[in-house]
Symmetry: C2
Subunit: 137 residues, 2 copies
DNA sequence: TTTAGTTCCTTGTATTGCATAATACTTTAT
DNA sequence: ATAAAGTATTATGCAATACAAGGAACTAAA
């Protein structure tokens, strides 16, 4: 079963927003971003994050400067831009709409109300003859 | 800017779950599925839905039978299987976890607390020298 | 019966974005 | 010098939907 795959697919669409949100919180650099997201159960790999950051940079949503740390090689510290903030707001709005829509779908259809399929719900399609055509066609 | 694109990307990961949820609600056929999802602001095209249904069928998560309607050509009515229900439960659990994680990320980083970047938060990385290396390197 | 129109289903190509994995570069420690 | 750790980069491949066009079954009207 590919539940893991499905979870990964769900993550995909929101990764950009999450990364942008983390950067919006305060200036930060890639390994720290990965750590923060891991903390909230959203896993990202380096090879996923760097290309994403480059895209955000090219779109003018984030910016970066090099800084030396107390240890190790210099780091690319990312900050969010004006446009980045605006875009993040739009993203989160869309996100909340989607969450609402999906929850509505899930909960509205959660029950096993099979009995109603052919009785109530006038607007529903009315299968007349009950049996199949050539099941192989 | 590609906000529409971003929204589409978000939809991608949850489409499978939504379609499964609709079918779980009661036996239904493709155009009706599209209508229901449109009703909750989740847009799907035929060319997207049919391949998805085939995949679900091949994975044993849904099944279908042909039925004649009062008008028009016969329809493929889809039902959810035992495995489909189990899988849907796992999907919704993952979905709820993801929503929680994302909301946490968004809200925790929502404020513009730039001032704290170099003062509080002891666990945070400490940029020591303030200025960049070769900004072009 | 032929034509047009609806409804439903199918298929192929393109695009997008992440996963995986390997690699290079910079500093620090031994 | 050499090894080790931390940081950044790149290449290849896969999964899933968007888009667009078309085909098949039925109905109704001329």
């Amino acid at each position: 079963m590919d539940l893991e795959n499905a979870k990964a697919q769900m993550r995909k669409g929101v990764l950009e927003m999450c990364v942008l949100a983390v950067i919006a919180g305060r200036e930060t650099y890639p390994p720290e971003i990965i750590g923060k997201l891991e903390g909230t159960n959203v896993l990202v790999k380096e090879g996923t994050l760097y290309p994403l950051l480059i895209r955000l940079k090219n779109d003018g949503l984030v910016d970066y400067i090099w800084r030396e740390g107390v240890k190790g090689p210099p780091r690319k510290y990312f900050t969010i831009t004006e446009n980045g903030r605006k875009f993040l707001e739009e993203l989160t709005d869309s996100w909340k709409e989607l969450v609402q829509a999906v929850n509505q779908t899930i909960e509205h259809n959660a029950s096993t109300d099979v009995g109603e399929a052919f009785s109530t719900d006038p607007g529903a399609p009315r299968p007349l003859h009950i049996e199949p055509l050539p099941p192989d066609a």
